[in-house]
Symmetry: C2
Subunit: 459 residues, 2 copies
């Protein structure tokens, strides 16, 4: 089944010095030849995997632009098909004209991620590698870049493949038993299977555990700043932002009405959420506002709770922190900051606070601010389970892996109660499917649609 | 004198599927080799003018990205130097990382237009061609694209070169006379020089005349819509915009407080300026507002003056149009539109209006609207002097050419009053300089600075 020829602008949207138009499909070289004449002699060596040339794009007799053209011959290309990349002058007029010209010459505009989709269909990439391409393009910090690259180079796929292949071996032995079911033989050693399942579970659980880290790296670490009026929340936020750290500014979907500021701290994107307004109150209307604030902070991974050290009220603090704790999950870490250390350096002791990481700081004098960020960084790094080389960043992989664990638990239960090979086989197949979803050995159109929908055009 | 190595992001700003980083300088291949390893064997044929490869960028041992690399070997490159173009994954992180990596490896960020500047210095392009590159990238319509392409391919330069070479021949003959000044010989035939000057003047004047057309194509055609309250101005503007014409939306510097709307009509960018508020008044304060409006419309090339046909007041119309005429240059064309033709189809005659292009229209019923646009289009096209193949779009070229005409006039005056060769020689040299400015044979740093300052980074 030969696919049609697709085209798209692959460089960023808008005017630039250069723009890149990408074409893929078995016929893309023929399409190119209709609109393009290279200067000089064309090398025609059949051994060539790719070729660069300079020449003219024309529409009939009308000269359109002088361009650089890269041709990649199948299967030696990104998509596995013949691929052409035209570097043209980057006016929006020329970009649009070229796309129209290609459409006139029987190309079609590529869907989002369709080049990578074809690469997947032609087995140039597996599914998790394809997803990593999109994550790579979206990465904004060194750590998210690193995780995306690792995944793109097949990290998780090869790990999963090893586990899956072992399970497949067992599955086929059990299938064999079923073929000889009248003879009541056991080709598949139940004890060995149990050991294997335990070791698979151990590995997968470690990978699952890495998701908290991976997700924080990929999507940033949300951190709420909470505290009573005048405890120094804004001063702290400004101090964190005003330091010469690179500010990650182009996060999509950040609207100005939610007060969120981001920094890139040693490759970790930290998102600080201003929660002005949180405090204990009996006013009913104010309570509604506060419950909204709680919704926001409950999606944080850290809460910085500020206390004015020079004006400390032990019972109020306890009441507030407990109220916060009651409304958030155990995953969220509360860090207590004893602010205004510059004004009051007296010894400070409150047994209740011993349950928390607790820092003396002065936001105003910039004492201890770096310590907070270091502490958050260290916490995030510690989420990275040392039992796993693999870090997952993708909700889909996380779901497939937790589903795998459930079915493995089912198999183990079955083994313990000595169920028949038929039942074992059903559960093993299920877990093979879940594992196969990750690299795309098992996939369906809906799944593929939902994955490639998130890509940008031209990739 | 060997130049340093420059680098820049050449694709449009922001995240894309692909981004292109460009490097130029004699050492750019060495720089590349420090950070890049191609997959497979590197072809090393010395005859190669350029090469494409796929491989890995690394920073020390750290893997950064998988990229496509084009190498262009001097002098077969855009700048005439060794040029490298790296197509990387288009995350802003990778783009910035690569630039930083290049800077670590002794590259410098290119100034605006510096690649093209180097192409000019290495005689790959003359100055007017270099300017055309910038105009090409900025072109938004088919006609502006066409003019930029023509200029980029050397249109005006070769025309000017012919004229200039002829003048140079004369200049050298006159120089020769000066060497033999004691002998009182005339190597340069004065009559022939006069004929040559006339023919040069004829050609240059035709080119100068083309500037009105070229400028309108390059910068768009400003059109003011003027008329009394309720004459149908907004309805007309909406009708013009709502038709399915492509709206040119990304004009830089368009602020929302000046009400200006643009369409692309058959390759001509028409900019409609809403001038609500213009009318005769004796109120002093209102007069100030109106004089501001006049400032705006005086920079228009067309004024659409709307009259409510069903409520026509001859003397008021005459008074208003004459007032407008007194405040604008003769270059501005007034088109009178007798609106609401659907409400009043009675014969209509006013001798005063016979001085103008005059159309019955109904903005509401969309009668005659297309005719207006066609009329404007035809007028613009007619500005294109048929005596010149060349169209100039550039204020700088226009100034150089008008300066050339003045000096040629001086030479002719000198010839008529039979001044000595010495004086002739001075004026001829001056006109050679003016002509030489266009293609950059004569240039200076200030001029070059001012030209390349308008380029985008990466070109």
């Amino acid at each position: 089944m030969q696919s049609d020829t697709i085209c798209a602008i692959s460089s960023a949207h808008g005017k630039g010095a250069i723009a890149v138009i990408r074409i893929s499909g078995h016929n893309s070289i023929d399409v190119l030849n209709k609109i393009y004449s290279p200067y000089g002699k064309k090398e025609t060596s059949k051994k060539l995997r790719r070729r660069v040339s300079v020449g003219q794009i024309t529409d009939g007799t009308k000269f359109i632009d002088e361009v650089v053209v890269n041709e990649f011959y199948e299967p030696h290309s990104y998509t596995g098909e013949n691929v052409v990349e035209i570097s043209c002058h980057g006016s929006t007029y020329i970009q649009n004209y070229l796309i129209e010209l290609l459409i006139k010459n029987e190309c079609r505009i590529a869907n989002k991620g369709e080049f990578t989709y074809r690469a997947f269909m032609n087995k140039k990439l597996d599914l998790s590698q394809a997803e990593a391409v999109s994550e790579l393009i979206s990465s904004k910090t060194s750590k998210s870049h690193e995780l995306a690259l690792k995944q793109m180079r097949g990290g998780i796929s090869s790990e999963i493949k090893i586990l899956r292949d072992k399970l497949i071996k067992f599955a086929s032995l059990i299938e064999l038993e079923l073929d000889f079911s009248q003879e009541d033989v056991e080709f598949a050693d139940r004890k060995e299977l149990m050991t294997l399942l335990d070791s698979i579970k151990f590995k997968i659980l470690a990978i699952i555990k890495s998701f908290k880290y991976g997700n924080a790296i990929k999507n940033g670490v949300p951190i709420s700043i909470v505290g009573q009026p005048n405890s120094g929340k804004s001063t702290l936020l400004n101090k964190i932002l005003n330091e010469e750290r690179s500010i990650v500014s182009d996060i999509e979907g950040t609207t100005r009405d939610t007060i969120e500021e981001m920094i890139n701290y040693n490759g970790i994107e930290m998102r600080f959420i201003d929660t002005a307004g949180i405090r204990n109150t009996d006013d009913k209307i104010e309570k509604i506002g506060i419950s909204r604030t709680y919704e926001k902070i409950s999606s944080s991974l850290f809460i910085l709770y500020l206390i004015d050290r020079s004006n400390y009220n032990s019972s109020l603090t306890k009441k507030e922190i407990q109220s916060i704790k009651s409304k958030i999950s155990d995953e969220v870490k509360i860090i207590v900051l004893l602010n205004k250390f510059d004004l009051n350096k007296s010894d400070f002791k409150d047994n209740f606070l011993e349950n928390f990481d607790c820092f003396d700081i002065s936001a105003k004098k910039n004492i201890g601010v770096e310590k907070i960020l270091k502490n958050i960084e260290q916490n995030v790094i510690n989420w990275n389970d040392i039992n796993s080389d693999i870090v997952i960043t993708n909700q889909r992989h996380y779901s497939s892996l937790t589903n795998t664990i459930s079915t493995i638990n089912e198999i183990e239960k079955g083994l313990e109660s000595k169920v028949s090979g038929e039942f074992l086989s059903i559960d093993i197949k299920k877990s093979l499917e879940y594992l196969g979803e990750i690299s795309g050995e098992i996939s369906n159109e809906d799944l593929l649609d939902s994955i490639f929908r998130d890509f940008c055009i031209g990739k």
